[in-house]
């Protein structure tokens, strides 16, 4: 199973600013002083090996969209945030527009940042393609139809050329999706959201975004520990600091890096991936957040090590 991140930002897409690019260039050029980087190869090696991630990369700005390569030839996505647009461009480049494809999409919830990429999801416009959209919300189809057409978009949903169907899922009930066993779980979020435990050939991915946790509720903890149990990868909503999540942003429906570490440790998950990044945070701040989270894991480590990463647009993980 290969997991590829196309959109990792929470709430609303953001773009790297000119000022931020300039700061990265200044930092890189100062560090390159006297290094004799007189060929593209030397410069690339310097960038890849000697610059910090926040200088040489960006976490990116597209909203939620994660691709799961299953090896079956059919595409599987979690959410249709703005990251669905570059995914679609890449998918069409991989197989060309003339060969019909099947797309399976698991929707966590129909808040706009999780569906806004669909009007720009080119495969939906191509006759012969099939798009299966799965979710637990009664109003999911209506939410997707509503953002097409006037006054929000110039093309009506009914004009889409692909065969599009909506397949309801039931929390706690396993389903076969393109050879994956997918089990949804209700999560605490305004209007509800659903996480997905996704299993294939002994590997387990948990996609759990837009989920607030109340760890002083033992029953809630128990069910999430079971949901995350020994997962190879947990993609986790860490949008807020714990302090914000418990104070000014309590009941806003998001979680923190600290709660992510604690739940994954209780569940003995192997890898925690911070996701749904706060749009206010720049690359330096997100890199610092990752460093702090790794430090927290270190000081709370018991008899096993939890790997911690922070998702960025374009990141790939192999399970």
């Amino acid at each position: 199973m290969l997991v590829r991140f196309w959109g990792t930002r929470g709430s609303i897409p953001v773009a790297l600013t000119s000022a931020a690019i300039q700061r990265k260039l200044v930092t890189a050029l100062v560090k390159a002083t006297g290094r004799g980087l007189d060929t593209p190869e030397k410069a690339r090696a310097f960038v890849e090996q000697e610059l910090d991630f926040a200088v040489s990369h960006t976490f990116g700005g597209n909203s939620s969209c994660v691709e799961i390569e299953t090896g079956t030839g059919e595409y599987v996505l979690c959410d249709l945030g703005s990251g669905a647009r570059p995914f679609a461009v890449s998918a069409l480049a991989r197989h060309g527009p003339a060969r019909p494809q099947t797309y399976h999409v698991l929707i966590s919830h129909p808040h706009w940042d999780h569906i806004m990429g669909f009007p720009f999801f080119v495969p939906a416009y191509i006759p012969g393609n099939v798009v299966h959209i799965y979710g637990c919300h009664d109003g999911l189809e209506d939410a997707l139809r509503r953002q097409h057409g006037r006054p929000s978009f110039p093309i009506e949903f009914g004009q889409l050329g692909a065969k599009i169907d909506f397949l309801p899922l039931v929390p706690g009930q396993p389903n076969d999706v393109a050879g994956l066993t997918v089990t949804p779980k209700l999560q605490r979020h305004g209007g509800d959201s659903y996480g997905y435990r996704i299993e294939q050939a002994g590997k387990t991915l948990v996609y759990s975004t837009d989920s607030e946790h109340k760890l002083d509720d033992p029953e809630a903890v128990r069910t999430f520990v079971a949901f995350f149990r020994e997962a190879d990868l947990v993609i986790f909503d860490a949008q807020y600091s714990l302090g914000d999540a418990m104070s000014v942003k309590e009941d806003w429906g998001h979680s923190s890096n600290i709660v992510g570490v604690e739940l994954c440790q209780m569940a003995r998950a192997k890898h925690l991936c911070l996701y749904h990044h706060e749009p206010m945070l720049d690359d330096d701040q997100l890199a610092a957040l990752l460093g702090e989270t790794r430090r927290l894991e270190e000081i709370t480590r018991g008899d096993y090590r939890l790997e911690v990463s922070a998702a960025y647009d374009g990141m790939e993980l192999i399970l």
Binding site: D216, V221, G243, D244, V259, I299
Partner: protein, 127 residues
Amino acid sequence: MELTPRHFADTIVLSASGRVDHATSEMFKTALLGQLGTCAAGQNPVVLDMGGIDYVASTGLRALMLASRQVKAQGGVLVTAALQPVVLEVFEIARFTMLFKNFSSVRDALAEISPEGLAAFEAAGGH
């Protein structure tokens, strides 16, 4: 986990010890909130001495947040003091350093919030 109250003039110093994790945080919360009833505007400021706390998990931080809310509603003052380095790291990672006024020692906290409490603390030997 233990929480021991001491009174220095008008000030209450609550000395906590042990580990506040998922197993003990409920007890910590009950003990802490139970000591805050008289902390109000102009009376009985509270210093939470965390020098004996080895670790605070998210549920322990939640208890601190509830204590802060209760004191704020009562118009009182609650500060933290003497965090061990690891606990201070957790505070910083959780951004609790932006929510709590924290002092490096109980003495420093008393000097800021209650001169009378500091004098009584010093008279008692300063510990």
